[in-house]
Structure formats: C-alpha cells, structure tokens
C-alpha cells in the first residue's frame, strides 16, 4: 500500500537542457512569445479598461509610426538607445558590469552644453562641433575609467561604483543648471544658442534627426568590427570568458579593463553629445532619461551582437512610443503603458528559457512496463 502512494508522486513533467537548436526554431519560440504577450496584454486591457484590445494595438502602431514626424522621432530614439547599447557592450563582453552609462552619457551631454554656452559666440560652428565631439567623449571616458582604474588596481566592485558615479553626474548637472540658468535663478538652462544655433548639429535634407541616425549607423558597424575582428576585441573576449586564460597567455588584464572602459565611457559621452547638440539643445538632469539602464537590456537581449541590437532597440522604442500613445488616446495613465511594455519584455526574456531548455512530459507508467 505504501508503495502505491509513491507512484502518484511522480512529477508530471521535467526540464531538460537543450543542445543548440536550429535558428528557425529559436525565432519561432520568440514569435510565439510575442504573440502570447499580446494575448495576455489583450486580456489585461479588456479586464482593466473594457476597451477592444485590437483597437489599442492599432493605436500603438499609429503612435509609433503613424506619421512621418512620429517615424523620424522613433528613429531618433532608437539611435540614442542603440548608441548607449553599443557603449555598454564592450564592457559587458568583458564581464565588467558597467551600469553607469546613464552618468557617462549625462556628463558627456553636460560637457557639450558647457562648451556650447562658453564658446558659442567665440568659435565658428565648423570648429565648435569637432571640439564638442572630442570634449564630450573625453568627459564620458573619464567618468567610465574612474571605476575601471579602481577595479583594476584594487578590485573594487564596479557595479556599485559605476552606479554611484551616475548620482554624482546627476547632482553635478543639477547644480550647474542653476549656475547657468536662463533667466538667472529659474533653475533651467533653456535652449542654448537659440538664435545663433552655434554648436547645433546641422539639418540635412530638411531632417534634423538624420545626422544622429547616420552617426549611430556608422558606429554600429565600427563596434561590430572592433569586437569581432580587432586584437582588442579578442582580448576583451578572453578577459570576459576567463581571467585564468588571460593570465595563462600573459595578457595584462588591468590594461584591458582600463582601455575598454575608456572606450565604453567615450561612446556614452558621444550619446550625450548627440542628445544635446543633435536634438535637445539643452541639458537637464533628466536628459538621458533612464536610457543608460534600458541599454543594458537591449545589449543583453541581443547577445551583445551590435546588429541584433538594432532589432532589440527598435522593439523597445516602438513599445514605449506605442504605449504612451495608448495612454494619451484612451486617457489611461502612464503606469498602464508601463504594464503593457513590461508584459511584452517579460515574455521575450522568458522565451530565452525555452530556447535553452525543453520541458518534457513524463512517460505514463503503462508505457514503461510495456
């Protein structure tokens, strides 16, 4: 009798690690994940708001790409997010958890704004823009390399350190927005060089976002080549995979960490430059708006491949734009759009589990004895 009850206890299914599965299968799993996410969201929408989910999804598309202006604005957002994702990727490939892209980009943007204010009248734009570019990248690089130096020399925790550097950057910018505020004491800088447009990236083909988008497109290719085909990229890979191997081949791990974080920080600084000189033409403590953190998700979901990052950053920006549109059109608040994007991202990240593991139903007892 005792043994009988044991039989009932057999688990219904168990989890098995998969070998690599063919590409089409992993794509199918992801497609199914998105479909399921839309379904779950539909239920949530119906239950909470009583709206027809299909209408809501149409509104979403409309919000993201409904007009030419919206389309270009979406592209611009993708460009910035992609730029930040490219920036964190070398560090993450090295297993250096740089969660300070937010601060590194903000300080780059601040350096740009500062130079625009100081030299907007004295330097011609043709000289000023290269200066802005260099100064912003330098500022980002410095912000990135400080935690790297501490990590390399004293093995401090880079996660906490880069995070703290974000707060310093934000407070610095808050302070200086008061110092430079126009009018004095308003606490806001406002549009810098509104009439002279000094230090503004040029409008090409009537499109003020095109330069940003092109710069990031070129950068994507460069980062891909750097990681895949250069000796530096190879060293980053070795250090990230195994420090013992790096030691074994006589690689100077400290040098690689510092060099890579200089690069990572510099690209963040570039993103800051694009934000200030290319689109916002001002600086506030919220200029980067959390995208330094979102970039980590983008980079990770793309398995650190710059070309896949185009897709993942598109997905995230598209969802955000669409969700905001839903919130406005249907008079729902912002939190609701966050719920929708949250559910979708949850399913996409969750699908990774099913790509790596298979869930198998257990055999019925009869089969075994047969």
């Amino acid at each position: 009798m005792h043994q009988k009850t044991k039989h009932v206890r057999e688990p219904l299914f168990h989890i098995v690690k998969r070998d690599a599965i063919p590409n089409w299968q992993s794509i199918m799993i992801r497609v199914i994940a998105v479909a399921l996410a839309l379904l779950v969201n539909g239920i949530v929408i119906l239950a909470v708001t009583g709206e027809n989910p299909i209408n809501l999804y149409i509104t979403m598309f409309d919000g993201a790409i409904g007009t030419s202006r919206r389309f270009w604005s979406l592209m611009q957002n993708i460009a910035i997010l992609l730029c930040l994702s490219l920036a964190v990727t070398p560090a993450f490939s090295m297993r250096f958890w740089n969660i300070g892209a937010e601060g590194q980009a903000l300080i780059g943007g601040f350096a740009t704004a500062f130079m625009m204010i100081r030299f907007g009248e004295s330097l011609p734009t043709a000289v000023l823009i290269p200066v802005l570019l260099i100064v912003s990248m330098l500022a980002g690089a410095i912000w990135g390399v400080i935690p790297a130096i501490f990590k390399a020399l004293w093995n401090t925790n880079e996660t906490l350190f880069t995070l703290m550097m974000n707060y310093i950057a934000i407070q610095l910018v808050s302070y200086f927005t008061y110092v430079f505020s126009v009018p004095k004491g308003s606490g806001q800088i406002g549009i810098i060089n509104r009439s002279s447009r000094a230090g503004w990236l040029p409008i090409v083909n009537g499109n003020s976002y095109l330069v940003n988008i092109l710069i990031v497109a070129v950068l994507t290719i460069l980062v891909y080549i750097y990681l895949r085909f250069s000796k530096h990229g190879y060293e980053i890979e070795v250090v990230g995979q195994s420090e013992d191997t790096a030691r074994y081949i006589g690689l100077d791990v400290r040098k690689v960490i510092i060099r890579t974080m200089l690069l990572s920080g510099a690209i963040c600084g570039l993103a800051g430059f694009l934000l200030v000189s290319g689109t916002d033409h001002t600086i506030t403590r919220d200029t980067v708006a959390g995208r330094g953190f979102t970039a980590i998700v983008v980079s990770w979901m793309a398995h650190f491949n710059p070309f896949y990052m185009i897709l993942t950053s598109f997905l995230i920006c598209f969802l955000e734009k669409g969700a905001v549109e839903i919130a406005t059109v249907y008079g729902l608040n912002d939190s609701f759009s966050d719920i929708i994007t949250g559910v979708i991202i949850f399913f996409i990240i969750g699908s990774e589990f099913f790509i790596n593991y298979a869930v198998k139903r257990n055999h019925a007892r009869g089969e075994v004895q047969a």
């Binding site: 206890r9 688990p11 098995v16 250069s230 195994s242 074994y248 006589g250």
Partner: protein, 515 residues
C-alpha cells in the same frame, strides 16, 4: 531465491541530443560489491545520480527489494536507505566530523555526545580510523572521504554508491578503503563502486557491469574475467596497453629549478625549497597526492605565479647561455624566444576558452604577433585544420566552440596547439584526466614524440602505473616538499606511495621543532 537489493530495468536518460544512458539494466544483491566500469563519458555517474535522486530517468524503472519505486529527490533516495558518496566532498570545513555527520538530519533535537558515540560505534564496527571530534579542515583527503562514508552509514544506508572513490587516494589509503568496503559487504550491505581503473575492479568487486557510450554492454562475474576482456568490453575493440619507452638520447640540462618557495594568497606555504633539473630528451614525471603543490609549481615555471624565493634557470640551446626566468611573465618569456609550452590542468578554464571556436583558440598564444590592429585568422585557421587532421579530432568543423567537443578532443586541440609552438620545454598537468583509453594513449604517444625530438617534458600525473611506464625519472612531491626523485624504470608502486605522504610527517616534525 533471494531478492536483489536494487534492480534497474531499461533506464534511459537523455540530455538534449546526448543519450547519457540507454536501456541500462543492473542488479545488485545484498552482500555484494558491484563495479560499474566504463570510460569517462560512458554514463556511469549519470546512472548513479538517478538512483540517488539527483536526476530523474526518462524511461525505465527502479526496483528496491523487488518493489518498484519512484525516486524524485535525494531525500527519497535516503528514505530507501540509498547513500551516495560523491567524488567531490560536501562537508562544512569548520565543523567537526560528528557535526558534519548529524548536519541536515531532520530530528527535533539531537544530542551531539550521543551522536559521537554512535559514530564511534560504526567506526569500530567497520574499522574506520577517524576521530569524530576532529575538524574537517584539519583532515587529509582520505579522512574526509571516511567522514562522507560515515555520514551515509549513520543515516542507516544499506545500499552504498561510491563515485570514483580512489581518484584522490594513495595506494595505501586505497587498500584501507577496500578493506572497509569488504567488511561492509560481509555485513550484508549492497555496494556499488564507479571506477575506470581495471586493477581495482579485479581486486575488489564480485561482479562488473560495463557501460560504453551510455549503453549497457553486460555484466560479468569478476572471478571469470581478466583485464583484456574487460578493456575490450569497455572500449569495444582490442587495444594494447603498452607504452613504448625509449632511452633518452643526448640528454642535457634544460631547466634548472633551485630552492623554490611559494606562499599562496592565504599565506600558506605551498612549495618548500623545491629543486630539480629537467633534461632534454627525457620525461620527468611528477607524482603526488592532488593539491601537493604540483599546480603551483608548473604555473610558477610558466610565469603565471611569482615565487617568493628560488631560481628558475633555462639553458638556452640556441645561444648556449643560461637565462633566469624567475621573475618573467609568460609574455616576456615568449619575447625572449623561449618556447615553453604548458598544458594546464584546467583545460577549458585556462588553456582554452570554451565558448570560442577552434580557430580562435589556436591564436590564444599568438594573436598579438604582427603589427596590425586587426586579427589574422588565416594562419590559425590552417593550424586548426592541420591539428584536426593529424590528431583525428572529432568535430563538425573549425568553427565549433571547443566546449561542445568531448574531453578527449578538447585535450587534443590544446596539446596540438602547444606542440605546434615547437617547444623546448613541454609541461603537462594531468593531461589524460577524464580522457578515454584511446585518447589517453594518443597523448602518451605525443609526449613520447616530444621527448624523442629532444624536448624536456615535465608530466604531472595521477596514475602511478602510467607514471612508472612512461617516465624516465619520477619526482615525488608531498605537501610541497620534494621527497625523492627516483628512476622511472626501477620505481616500485609501494615506494612511491610512501614517498607521497612523507612530506606530511616532515611538516609535523618541523612543527614540533618550532614549539
């Protein structure tokens, strides 16, 4: 008719596309020792993990005392009085033996004194030699193993599974363990021992079940079989188990190590005044219990660790000069034109990068050559193809990540790369660990070839039989001390066994002198 203690019927387990066990049948009676024999990767441990509740079989059934059972977790296994002694010990270092033994028992309260008494009783019954109040960190590897065995006995296990229990033991300790196991068998316990060492199978077990590549080949009575036929069952074909050993030719001093001292990060003295000479055209074997300082010694010579004292001198055959390597990094050694190859113990974590493909692993040591900013993947690609051809590496192609290869093929890739560097000194730490018999012999042959090319070969091994067949001289280290360097052709196993533990006594004597 007596009912078997444990019986497996048609057990199958797959991981992805890998079939770890296919339709395996086993029977173990009480009062019997069963050896499970098979090469690495033949599915021995997977099978035992299913009995002890770590894995769950895809198909098949397990019978205990004739009743079909479902074992979902280690706790279920324990309820059926199954106890497994793993290869890697699971003990709390700062606890005493007795504390470790009672740890995890779900009793409302326990009395440590009472437990100690009971542990002592088990010790006396089977002839274990361990002090229940001794702390784990003060124990030798064999004492720790004893505690693991006591732990399962204390819980009342009467089906015992031991996974490669002799891998970490000296010959003398192995004998002691076998004596204890025989006593337990006579006491009516069912014992399963996993191993790939043939002579142990023959000397200890009553029956042998052989697995090959996950498949159940058959069970034979030990008394009716011999080494050759077991090998044939295990490998699937007849192979000769001889290693050719040629006389060293034109041997000259190549690497001279003098008075090497090394303390690890915790300040523990790992190497104590190590001196020896490695000669060209000769294989110098290093024997010792795992963790006696072999790893550190090789890493110091390779330039990965800095010794606190002593010299490493290299007789350069090209210039005829004597060069000091003591404070050089691996990069500096290479830039001096010294070709020192090193096959580390941790293949995928140090010698290779598991996630990189074969081509990228080929250039680990050479990628920085040449001026340009970009990598040259053409030559490594060629080298990869060459090694795959010459050493018969089984792989879908050069772009396969090395972690996907089997252990033997991983090692061929690593050894192949290190040999391709045309070394003058070739160091290998446990190069055949985890390899099947065929791959092991490929590696021995490669080491012999290097020796015949005039390379000074340093070989850290664990199997004394192999060391005695392969090496010209054998250096024995014990607790970081060189206890002796003996002639490989004349060495006796017992003598090596004694030398392997002599350092501990010396250490204790020194300790007493200090007081």
């Amino acid at each position: 008719m007596n009912v078997p203690a444990i019986e497996l019927k048609g057990i199958t387990k797959t991981f992805g596309n890998v079939v770890a066990n296919k339709n395996v049948n086993l029977v173990v009676n009480r009062g019997e020792i069963l050896s499970i024999l098979g090469e690495n990767g033949s599915g021995k441990t997977t099978l035992m993990n299913m009995i002890s509740g770590i894995y769950y079989p895809d198909a098949g059934s397990i019978l205990i005392d004739g009743e079909e059972v479902v074992i979902r977790s280690p706790k279920d296994a324990f309820d059926y009085k199954i106890g497994m002694i793993h290869q890697h010990f699971k003990l709390v270092n700062v606890f005493s033996a007795a504390e470790n033994i009672v740890l995890g028992l779900r009793e409302k309260s326990f009395n440590l004194k009472q437990a100690t008494r009971e542990v002592q009783k088990i010790c006396d019954q089977y002839g274990f030699d361990v002090d229940p109040s001794k702390k784990i960190y003060e124990m030798s590897v064999s004492e720790k193993q004893t505690v693991e065995i006591l732990k399962v006995l204390y819980r009342g296990a009467d089906i015992l599974i031991l996974d490669e229990p002799t891998a970490v033991l000296t010959p003398q300790e192995t004998e002691k363990l076998f004596a204890v196991l025989r006593r337990m068998r006579d006491d009516g316990k069912a014992i399963i021992i996993i191993t790939h060492k043939l002579h142990e199978v023959l000397s200890l077990s009553d029956k042998v079940s052989v697995l090959r590549k996950g498949e159940y080949i058959g069970t034979v009575v030990t008394a009716e079989t011999d080494e050759e036929s077991l090998t044939e069952m295990m490998v699937g074909k007849k192979i000769s188990l001889n290693i050719d050993r040629s006389e060293p030719q034109d041997s000259v001093d190549r690497l001279i190590v003098r008075g090497l001292d090394f303390y690890n990060e915790e300040g523990v003295k790992v190497l104590d005044d190590i001196s020896f000479t490695a000669r060209s055209g000769e294989i110098l074997g290093i024997a010792g219990i795992a963790g006696s300082g072999q790893k550190e010694l090789l890493e110091i010579i390779a330039g990965l660790l800095k010794p606190q004292g002593g010299d490493i001198l290299y007789e350069n055959p090209e210039t005829g000069e004597r060069e000091d390597l003591g404070s050089k990094t691996p990069l500096e050694i290479r830039n001096m034109g010294i070709r020192l190859s090193f096959v580390p113990e941790d293949r995928l974590g140090m010698g290779l990068v598991g996630n990189m493909d074969i081509t990228d692993n080929m250039m680990l040591r050479s990628y920085s050559k040449g001026k340009g900013f970009f990598l040259n993947r053409k030559d490594p690609q060629k080298l990869a193809e060459q090694i795959i051809d010459n050493l018969e590496v089984v792989t879908p192609g050069t772009s396969t990540p090395v972690r996907r290869l089997s252990g033997g093929n991983v090692q061929k890739v690593l050894v192949g790369r290190e040999i391709a560097a045309m070394p003058t000194v070739f160091m290998a730490a446990y190069p055949v660990r985890g390899l099947d018999i065929n791959s092991s012999y490929t590696i021995y042959n490669l080491l012999n070839q290097q020796k015949e090319h005039g390379v000074a070969v340093i070989f850290v091994g664990e199997d004394l039989d192999v060391l005695m067949e392969l090496c010209d001289r054998i250096m024995v280290i014990s607790s970081g001390i060189v206890t002796d360097i003996v002639d490989g052709r004349k060495a006796k196993k017992e003598e090596l066994g004694i030398l392997m533990t002599m350092g501990e006594d010396k250490e204790e004597e020194e300790g007493k002198e200090d007081k």
